[in-house]
Point group: C2
Chain length 419, copies 2
């Protein structure tokens, strides 16, 4: 079985909303041997929706759509696809009731807004995919030839719940009913940071292309380059054994640039190492302005390691809240390894942590000088009374430089903990 | 002229990388009356790439691709599309030289990695789209019927530079050569926060559908609901006048829930208001853990308003760095309006700011109680010696609750400044 995904919404086509559903939608079916072979995005236009879904159906006979199930006039997925299947629309009283109950429970007051009733209009002859996390029901439509379209909401939490609760069981039932065994697709991803994609490929040498008949993909991101090994068409056990051999070979070749696997977050990796050693962490941030704290506190349970931090944007705050000396600032400037060192030592001591990291740099677009251009960022890692410092020249725009600075700080901490 | 976009890469199809190019790729052509009518995503597979581009060419004759121009074995866009056009590949010496010069300039040491040479392989008979921001040159291929494919890199900064420097001039030249005047598409977006999509639609009443013949789209995001008015097929002056009437009508109806227009960021709106009044800001963050600071410092120039903040994750840090009293914590708990008030007042005083905001709440997934469930977040806004406090019950997972908490804090500050 192959599936195509059609995502619907002007906001997606125009990119005002980032499509955060894609990863999740691809992973669950892939684990059952079902590949998402193409994703198309079209605007809130009934004829565009119908055309995109018809073409996808012609290619694979199995289509998942997301979006366009909401309560407003620009939500037209259900009608457009119902028309494609030659079906009319009807108001479903059970859905009206559940929408009403939901509205009362949220405690927003007043009657259910009339706009919500649109969510109770469903195609004739469809089946409902239950939504345990929101108001829009999902829809399953199937024609006489067994070709199907599953319409899921665009809101990520609702989409994920419906996929797990209602759609995956249907897909699995189809797979079980099919005579041929599904092709198993399994993959394993090594995450690296602090090394360029081409340098990584050179370092891998003959491993750079498909070791052991696996395929190898390079996935460069602001946070680093992921290496994904994929196995197709083997049994699960055989695939897993080959992936393990491949991952071991890659790790032997590129060693410490690998910080984790799969969806491991460098922040989570660092927190786990510190947790095991009963270490606590304090932060001192200038150019990242809280981003490092945000990365770490995004991880549930981070509070048993991270005590807190100081966002010291103004020099006066670096002095008053972290104890950076006036003399250091005037001799070396706010962006210097000397200032970073005092920031880290000050945060460690004042917050009573065993370890502290500090970041100060020029994120741009303004503020660069010939000696300290945009992207010039100084770091310090304080463990005990000692602080190691270094400087990196990071590339990209303001957002990328800040993200890279946070990642570089976390990676420096990871490597300091490893020694 | 209509254009389709084909984005290439397993990482995009699987959603491991977020497609941040879409908005930019749609906006520049739209401003010239050229619509991106569909976007397709396919994996790093030569036959899938060829199929997606061929189908897009059949529909519109004008295709922009992004991705697959890199230096590694999984980058196969150029060869796949060259084959579709019946062209071979050749090594371009000028590109080799520029890659070599670029490598030396980056100061990474050693020779140009051999993998980079793949970037100098180009289709026979193509034209080069210059890349002023990276190593991969772009490619323009055109057939005898005038159908074209422009291949841009996937890295956002490089894509944007190439679009502006090399591709838009070509598209504009085509438009100028065409006999018929292009259809002008113009839009204007009002940004709202703190109100549900359906409640907004009800509040808009008869304005909810297409006022003055404009189309109105609702774009719900974690940060709030955007309202986009779009005008098609009119002259630019006529469209702008109608959009101005529409925006005024909407603002009159929904008033203070609108915090800005277009790509206005609430953080930037708040910073600008404070800048005009010569106010300074300090932050006290618990459950957002630095996210509020990261939002504000993402804005260039934020340093003239934001002095800094304290990420007070541990209660000990709330006491030592913000002066929250032991008695307050034991009587009301860390998640309480009383604690939020002391956090804000402490941050304001200790950092010497005129205004401070504080956030403390239960981000989940753990830590909820019947009285204070996951999503229960307390806020304080301190202006002068006075602090206003309130509590919100935010929905979503940990990431959404934290994002909504940061947005809610900024919106509370905006509304406090407006009174």
């Amino acid at each position: 079985m192959q599936i195509e995904v059609v995502t619907i919404g002007d906001e997606l086509l125009l990119g005002f909303t980032v499509d955060t559903n894609a990863a999740h939608l691809a992973r669950a079916p892939a684990a059952r041997g079902v590949a998402i072979v193409r994703r198309s995005t079209c605007g809130d236009d009934a004829s565009e929706i119908a055309a995109a879904v018809r073409e996808a159906l012609d290619r694979t006979g199995a289509v998942i759509t997301t979006g366009g199930l909401g309560p407003t006039a620009d939500d037209m997925t259900k009608e457009a696809i119902a028309a494609l299947f030659g079906r009319g629309m009807r108001l479903d009283e059970a859905i009206v009731e559940s929408l009403r109950a939901r509205w009362l429970k949220r405690g927003w007051g007043g009657e259910l807004p009339k706009s919500n009733l649109q969510q109770a209009m469903i195609p004739e002859g469809c089946e409902i995919l239950v939504n345990n996390h929101g108001s829009a029901p999902g829809i399953w439509l199937e024609d006489a030839r067994g070709r199907w379209v599953a319409m899921l909401p665009g809101v990520p939490r609702e989409m994920r719940g419906m996929l797990a609760d209602a759609l995956m069981p249907r897909i699995e039932a189809r797979l079980a009913a099919a005579t041929s065994a599904p092709t198993v697709i399994r993959s394993r991803t090594l995450r690296t940071t602090g090394i360029a994609e081409s340098a990584l490929a050179d370092k891998l040498g003959e491993l750079a292309k498909a070791p052991f008949g696996l395929s190898l993909a390079y996935l460069p991101q602001t946070s680093g380059v992921d290496l994904r090994l994929t196995s197709r068409g083997r049994t699960a056990a055989e695939a897993d054994a080959l992936l393990a051999r491949g991952a071991t070979a890659l790790r032997e070749r590129i060693g410490p640039v690998v910080y984790g696997e799969g969806v491991d977050d460098l922040a989570a990796v660092v927190l786990q190492t510190m947790r095991e050693r009963h270490l606590t962490l304090a932060l001192a941030e200038s150019c990242t302005g809280g981003l490092l704290g945000a990365r770490l506190t995004a991880i549930p349970g981070s509070s048993d390691v991270l005590l807190g931090g100081v966002v010291a944007y103004a020099n006066a705050v670096k002095q008053s809240q972290l104890g950076v000396r006036e003399a250091t600032l005037s001799a070396h400037g706010a962006v210097s390894e000397e200032t970073a060192r005092e920031m880290a030592l000050g945060a460690r001591e004042r917050l009573g942590a065993s370890v502290a990291i500090a970041v100060t740099g020029v994120a741009g677009p303004g503020g660069g000088t010939p000696e300290k251009p945009v992207g010039h960022v100084c770091f310090a890692v304080a463990i005990g009374d000692d602080a190691q410092t270094f400087t990196a020249n990071l590339i990209g725009d303001r957002a990328e430089i800040r993200e890279r600075a946070a990642q570089t700080a976390l990676n420096a901490l990871r490597r300091a903990l490893a020694t």
